[in-house]
């Protein structure tokens, strides 16, 4: 097995740059640069020397002994000063030794290979690295830590238990074993079913945390929607002017709002009697607004727009700077009312994420959906009693297979293990 190394932090100037070395020769390669390694899992400052003895950098060095490392192999991390020149010099120096530059994703692949991660964890890691907001980071972290894998493993264990109960009535029918296991099996299947269903229900919210919530700003023309959006996004994303009907289409701005990834949609002003181009814009705005996760209605309390409000939608009046009543209002221009609005939005999103599950990718959802369909069929066949256990068993098998595809596990012969540990068999 080759020893590999690569820059583990982003390219370019930064405070700290981390180079990771992994493989059987990792310790040897690192020692060549820093003379001696600190004890595993303890940080130590070392001078990294070039082949001619000149100083490359003063680095913080960390060693991890396999299998207790990210990749499961011996790993050394060199925390360097983040200069482009230092990094490239150290990479060059490492390349002179017994190691080669890693291919993209190779560290992760080794971790997967060495059973340090399952597929969902790898996805979680990808998400973690790509995460932009605190909410995304926390979510990715949980998946990376294997929370989804653990959940699935628990379901799988229950399903294997259910399958083994059925198989024992089939394969050991001429022995002293239970004949009708319908009740126990149904209970196991139904409990997994409930869990899978809950997880699926939380999929939409979880996916939103990952991909971002859509928030539509809705209101009559010239209410100041674009100005509000700009104020929220703190940059000039939408064209704003004083003339009504400037925003003809839907404008999207992606941002971090109090830790949530959101896409703000600035919709065309909703009014009758617009010209044809604007009318299409309005139509599109209405449908986008309806499909959004949350709507901010920016209008006077007595105004009417062609978008129906939903449960947790937010209502604020425009032009806070120019009004005398005490209706909650905002002004994009002066910033008045903006902090309060952000609190309202954040609270609404937070209540939406209460139900968020761990399944975050469409692939997860599809596999769970297939598993659920098979479970439903299994429950139904089980209900027909022992005479149809053959088909129920097939459905359970199919359900297990779907879950396994989710964590990327192949092959099950745990079934027989379960049978032999639970039953006394053998005439």
């Amino acid at each position: 097995m080759d020893t590999i190394f690569a820059l583990a932090t982003a390219q370019g100037r930064a405070g700290v740059a981390v180079i990771r070395i992994s493989g059987p020769q990792a310790f040897v390669c690192a020692t060549a640069l820093c003379g001696s390694l600190p004890n595993p899992r303890q940080a130590g400052v070392r001078a990294l020397l070039d082949s001619d003895g000149s100083l490359l950098d003063q680095a913080l060095v960390l060693a991890f002994q396999g299998p207790n490392s990210f990749t499961g192999e011996d790993v050394v991390e060199l925390h360097l000063h983040g200069s482009i020149a230092v990094v490239s010099a150290v990479l060059r120096r490492l390349g002179e030794g017994d190691a080669r530059l890693a291919e993209p994703g190779e560290f992760t692949r080794r971790a997967l290979e060495n059973d340090k991660m399952d597929l969902a964890q790898v996805e979680g890691l990808g998400d973690l690295i790509a995460s932009e907001t605190e909410g995304q980071r926390r979510q990715a972290q949980r998946i990376f830590e294997g929370a989804l894998g653990q959940k699935i493993e628990a379901w799988r264990t229950n399903l294997i238990r259910a399958a083994s109960l059925i198989e024992v009535t089939i394969d050991f029918a001429d022995e002293d074993v239970p004949v009708d296991v319908t009740q126990e099996v149904s209970a196991l299947l139904l409990s997994v079913r409930t869990d899978v269903e809950n997880e699926l229900n939380g999929f939409a919210a979880a996916e939103r945390i990952r991909t971002g919530f859509e928030i539509a700003i809705i209101g009559p023309p010239n209410a100041g929607k674009s100005t509000l959006l700009n104020a929220l996004a703190k940059r000039d994303a939408a064209i704003t002017s004083e003339r009504a009907g400037t925003t003809r289409d839907v404008i999207e701005v992606r941002m971090d709002l109090d830790g949530y990834a959101v896409t703000l949609l600035d919709t065309a002003g909703l009014r009758d009697g617009a010209d044809e181009i604007e009318a299409t814009g309005i139509e599109r705005a209405v449908s986008r607004a309806n499909a959004s996760d949350l709507r901010i209605f920016l209008m006077e309390p007595d105004e009417i727009v062609p978008v129906a409000s939903q449960d947790d939608d937010i209502f604020v009046a425009p032009k806070a700077d120019a009004r005398t009543d005490d209706v909650p209002a905002v002004s994009g221009k002066t910033g008045q009312g903006i902090p309060e609005l952000i609190t309202l939005v954040s609270r609404a999103l937070s209540s939406k994420t209460q139900s968020a599950g761990l399944a975050t990718h469409a692939r997860h959802r599809d596999a769970m959906q297939m598993s659920l369909t098979a479970l439903d069929a299994a429950v139904e066949w089980i209900g027909h009693g022992p005479d149809h256990y053959d088909i129920a068993a097939e459905e359970i098998r199919s359900s297990i297979r779907s879950l396994e595809s989710l964590v990327g596990r192949i092959g099950v012969e745990n079934l027989l293990d379960e049978i032999f540990s639970s039953f006394c068999l053998g005439k």
Partner: protein
């Protein structure tokens, strides 16, 4: 000196099936075994078939093998297990008259064309470089051949244990093959050690049958062979009794005298066929275990007490047997014993059961780490066919997992290796719903015809049956009925507006053949066997369709062959553990690689990448 195409060593269940299959393919075959009287011996339970095992016997029959016919001819009690469950999990089982089984098997072997039986102990192989080309017998004579099939069962370094007494032996009353074991050692194959046991045999005249529960056979016996009609022998009942707390106390007090528990045996035993000592230790909370008392034949007094295999000393065996209801005065004719033996890790075999490292040498049966007559016979059949083909220079026949239990077993053995004696179960077959005992002929006889191991009788019988089935299927799918028509024939159905054929209706759990006959009276003309067969297919039709898609995906992986000289250490990113496993198994293609224990999708992706890279480099 005699020259043959194929030499088969060992006249057990694997050997007989191997020799007969090779001879059916037209190869000049010699079956060399210690004594002629070995042929057809049932070392343990005088019964054939069961769940998974019954499937194997039907498959052997579909390829015109011998086990099914001999079992039918000697059967004294037939039971179809799981009769009430779906057809996919029903397994035929029969108890045999041990002596008739042996007599019949010997007759079949002696009357087979191109097959000679040679008595003698094989002590060595004749080697032609890296290739086996015959065997040397104990008297120094040689039997030359182009290929060799070794089926020596438990005879390699066999060690028999009764209590703390142990001695070398291949089976009670037979010596082990120590000279051959030495030669095999020189091949440097990975060997392991397994154990198995057998119960004491009782004198039936000393059993109080009138105080025991009875178990009769089925009223309408289901035979093994597609060619058999009804059992020729008188049918008998078995008795049922149970161990009790006194039995358990006796065994517990004497545990350290048991060969298994006294630390005399190193080999691993089968978990599904535990000794009575094992049952009592592992399942201490059960205070009673069932015992079936199975007569070993019509005119013999020996009875096989199924469920109490043991390696306790003889006096303890007498004591615990007599503590059991109905056996208070029972006399033991032959004590129970355990046997330990060497087996070859089957990962060194290819899918045709030939050794990768010794050309022309095939292994089959218990020597590959399996247990059971049927498992042995099924492997024998595959090894015999392939040895005959190799002798003729033809390419090997490989079976596929979605086609037969035989190949599920061979693939499991050669891909996963063996850690405990391997026995067939229906739950091992992922395509269980399509691999049924009832359609074994449809699955395999065409293949048999292709390789030329099926005789004229069966060919005619099979083709007739296929013709009738085809006509029946057409009839079953010819007409669709509205939900209303279906209801008025007394079948419960959703009024969902969908028209359905009788075939589709038979997939509903509570629709039976009689019901659809009421709907379409024309179906009454179908031969009743044909009608039943089609309704079994119909029941699973939807699932079989779904499985076909799985199979297609599998085919794609199978199309990525892995060259025999593929270097796994050149695949960067592959863990050391998986590299070692892959080198041990040397999978033939990506699909087989995927079935190796602990394989991950990432590793498969790496393999695929490397295979593609090599292909590109070659092109």
């Amino acid at each position: 000196m005699k020259q043959f195409d194929v030499v088969v060593v060992g006249g057990g269940h694997a050997g007989c099936e191997a020799a007969h299959a090779a001879a059916r393919c037209g190869a000049q075959t010699a079956l060399v075994t210690m004594k002629k009287s070995d042929i057809g011996i049932m070392s343990c339970n005088p019964a054939i078939g069961g769940l998974g095992k019954g499937h194997l016997v039907r498959e052997i029959d579909a390829l015109d093998g011998v086990m099914a016919k001999v079992a039918d001819a000697s059967g004294i009690q037939f039971r179809l297990l799981n009769r009430r469950k779906g057809p996919a999990v029903q397994g035929p089982r029969a108890q045999s008259d041990r002596r008739v089984y042996q007599r019949e098997m010997l007759r079949v072997m002696e009357t087979a064309e191109s097959l000679s039986i040679v008595e003698g102990e094989v002590v060595d192989f004749i080697m032609n470089g890296q290739a086996a080309s015959g065997v040397v017998l104990a008297d120094g004579s040689e039997v030359r051949s182009k290929t060799v099939v070794l089926t020596s069962g438990t005879f390699l370094r066999g060690l028999i244990h009764i209590g703390d007494v142990s001695y070398a032996g291949g089976r009670m009353g037979d010596k082990e093959s120590s000279l051959l074991a030495k030669r095999i050692e020189s091949f440097d194959l990975p060997l392991g050690r397994l154990k198995t046991g057998t119960p004491p045999r009782l004198d039936g005249r000393t059993i109080a049958w009138d105080r025991l529960e009875r178990q009769d056979g089925d009223d309408d016996p289901t035979l093994f062979s597609f060619l058999s009609k009804s059992p020729p022998l008188r049918q008998v009942a078995c008795g049922i009794t149970h161990t009790n707390s006194q039995t358990h106390d006796i065994i517990r007090e004497n545990l350290e005298k048991s060969a298994m528990y006294g630390g005399h045996i190193d080999g691993t035993g089968p978990r599904y066929c535990p000794s009575i000592e094992d049952k009592i230790v592992r399942f201490g909370d059960k205070d009673s275990h069932q015992i079936f008392l199975e007569p070993e034949g019509l005119d013999v007094d020996t009875v096989y007490p199924n469920g109490v295999s043991t390696s306790l000393p003889e006096d303890v065996q007498v004591a615990y047997i007599r503590s059991i209801v109905g056996l208070e005065d029972a006399v033991i004719l032959q004590p129970g014993y355990a046997i330990e033996y060497d087996f070859v890790d089957p990962c060194v075999l290819d899918a045709g059961l030939s050794l990768r490292s010794v050309l022309g040498l095939f292994l089959a049966g218990q020597i590959n780490g399996t247990t059971g007559y049927e498992e042995a016979a099924a492997q024998g059949l595959v090894a015999g066919l392939n040895a005959a083909r190799a002798a003729k220079g033809a390419s090997p026949v490989h079976f596929r997992r979605d086609q037969s239990y035989i190949s599920v077993m061979i693939d499991d053995l050669t891909t996963r290796g063996v850690t405990e004696p391997y026995r067939m179960f229906t739950s091992r077959a992922e395509y269980r719903l399509s691999l049924r005992a009832d359609n074994a002929d449809q699955r395999l006889t065409p293949l048999g015809l292709e390789v030329g191991c099926v005789g004229a009788d069966r060919t005619k019988h099979f083709l007739d049956k296929m013709e009738k089935l085809d006509a029946g299927r057409t009839l079953m799918k010819a007409e669709s009925f509205t939900p209303k028509q279906i209801s008025s024939a007394g079948i419960k159905i959703n009024q969902d507006g969908t028209k359905r054929t009788p075939f589709q209706l038979l997939a509903f759990p509570d629709v039976a053949l009689e019901d659809v006959v009421r709907l379409a009276p024309g179906l009454a003309e179908l031969d009743s066997e044909v009608g039943l067969q089609i309704s079994r297919e119909a029941l699973y039709a939807n699932y079989i369709e779904r499985q076909k898609q799985d199979v297609e995906r599998l085919r794609k992986d199978e199309s990525y062959g892995i060259p025999a000289d593929f270097s796994y250490s050149d695949v960067s990113g592959l863990s050391a553990e998986l590299t070692a496993k892959l080198e041990r198994v040397r999978p033939a293609d990506l699909a087989q690689a995927a079935r190796i224990d602990g394989m991950t999708p990432a590793a498969l992706a790496l393999l695929l990448g490397r295979i593609r890279y090599l292909e590109k480099k070659q092109a």
